[in-house]
Symmetry: C2
Subunit: 433 residues, 2 copies
Amino acid sequence: MAKPFRVGLAGVGTVGGALARLLQRRREDLTARAGRDIAIVAVSALSRSECGPGLEQAAFYNDATALAATADIDVFVEAIGGADGPAYAAARAALSRGLPMVTSNKAMIAAHGLELAALAESNGAALAFEAAVGGGIPVIKTLREGLAGNEVRRVSGILNGTCNYILSRMESDGLSFDACLAAAQKLGYAEANPTFDIGGFDTAHKIAILASLAFGTRIDADAVSIEGIESITLADLAAADELGYRIKLLGVAERTAKGVEQRVHPTMVAKSEPLAQTMGVLNAVSIDGDAIGALTLVGPGAGGDATASAVAADICDIARGHVGLAFGRPVAALVEAERVPMQRHEGGYYVRMSVVDRPGSVAVIAKRMGERSISLEAIMQKRSDVGAPASEFVPVVLITKATTEASIREALDLAVADGVVREKPQVIRIERA
Amino acid sequence: MAKPFRVGLAGVGTVGGALARLLQRRREDLTARAGRDIAIVAVSALSRSECGPGLEQAAFYNDATALAATADIDVFVEAIGGADGPAYAAARAALSRGLPMVTSNKAMIAAHGLELAALAESNGAALAFEAAVGGGIPVIKTLREGLAGNEVRRVSGILNGTCNYILSRMESDGLSFDACLAAAQKLGYAEANPTFDIGGFDTAHKIAILASLAFGTRIDADAVSIEGIESITLADLAAADELGYRIKLLGVAERTAKGVEQRVHPTMVAKSEPLAQTMGVLNAVSIDGDAIGALTLVGPGAGGDATASAVAADICDIARGHVGLAFGRPVAALVEAERVPMQRHEGGYYVRMSVVDRPGSVAVIAKRMGERSISLEAIMQKRSDVGAPASEFVPVVLITKATTEASIREALDLAVADGVVREKPQVIRIERA
């Protein structure tokens, strides 16, 4: 039997703790798989007392960079989090000395992934980050290896369980956004400060990473157009339902004739699509490739055990001597993608607006749409509820055929200026398979 | 740049032809991924004239074993098919000389996978067969690598697109089994002799392979209990719909306290499950693991391009020097699974039967169930359609709580012997997530 494969673990929180338990629990099988025992021999944390079961024997460091730079280990596992700070410093220290590294840190990979991958390449070390996107779902491996023969056209996914939980609860229980957010916080699905999740920023990190893997492009996290789910109302969900859609917060990376679109926004998804059927805290990713057609992966996007599953798979790959390229191609071969600003996005749109309740209002809107060659696919004007107080506005929902973001925004701005539509119509993009 | 990676391809039919086109189309990207050009330099077929575009330059062999044994190549790709015969002979020839090999041949892997894997191991060669199960879905890689840290409890899947197409069409269009089979044949989804697909034998090969990867057990294809979809009627689909289920032909491999169950049969799946939502020719696989919970992969299970996608991914892995173990663990570490005969299967059951239309009939059935401690969850007795000819039988549908296959079969046999139930009640197992 070969020498044990020695793991140095930085961070013993939810992910690090679950990883330590997993490596103990699955020790025998992992030894068979890797051809050698896999053991955590060094650990870093703020204090020794944080270290749970399975870590008693490990050498202790109170500094992750010291661990990464000096410990006698075969792989460095970073489970600290944060784009910069100790995680980033430790990652550089590990890769600089040719030490393979595994991380679950999406923020760091989105911000510094290319630099770290280049460092890994030049030092002949592996850099693996399956757990950074989609939790336990092996989406990185699927894009990097499983679909290596495909020209990928689009990756779209539900990449944030908090948002999907909130939207699912709003739909199933008819509760407001605020009530569902509070429920998510109570269940531990959402942070006390939920902006990073519900504002779409977490999803943006993840889609930027997937775009690079999918298209062979350099990560360009700043190019992601981001909208969160804060503005979604029960009225939108009801209208979506009636029209055969569900509303999901999607991250979408798409290769178009104009370049690569990267966007995060609430999206109308046809109920028949696998992404629409993904409810609660689950994540799901659909990948469209020229050979495969469409492939969808659905599974747990977060949680200690699921994330540890992904980290353990990366460790096992490295222990077997499988040192692939971090982004599937050499960093030098990754190309700069042409950014497509959101204004140039083409697609169908859902628009819900409050229209002045007088003859000709809808005609004015339709005229503004027509001027920009926007065709309507559906229009729904609802009577106010019987007994509801009379209002000078009535709700109108439009579904457009394919048009550009610029056109629909201009048409709506003009309709507002015409005085027939109240300000801030709700605009939700429609994603067609 | 390193020397080209030379592929020898045996078989230029649907899969081989699609692979040749894929390797040409994606040549530049695959070179970046593999660090070297990937080129088909030798090919075997019945005649040179069968070879399509991309194969003009390749050395020609009219014998696959000669190609595998003597050609100057870096990987042997088998796309002939069949458990034995030329495919098997060529596979042995390739692995015997330490040549890595890629195959899409589920029948051969189900029958000879362990022997071939052992041959590969002892000669230091890779044996990869992603395309053998689930077409383009990377389910082999997911079980072998992506979920390496999990104790897998169950793998269940829709693994035959022909059957799923037929059941989907029956449900959506209200057409008979025979009509939908004819439609599948017309569309090229079913063979002229469809027994291998609709009888469940194709699914059985695939679930036997997945069971081995999931549980670290030796392939035991003979242990798979097999029922096809020929007996499914529109009455079953209507009852399933009413009860909140869809009927799918599933392959299921499950680790139970008694051992490993391997079974293929029509199954009631709750409509909310991802497998139930997989319609038409798509395949889907759900994997339950202790760390991940549940992961589901949905995609194209057949077709030249999708299968070529999986073959190309295997070739690319090998070209990068990633020579993993064929079944994730060394063959010597795979254990013999305790077989669980179908009679000992525990689960819920759907039973549709023709019951003699006289007072007390249902009471007799209920008594027979009660004697075997079978609890009923639901019972539906339908009036015959108004205007239909009077009959001495009425249709009754039962749903049982968990019981054993032996118990339900005995209870029904006795009810038939009691003279209250017409022979051959329809029995369909219910799979709960």
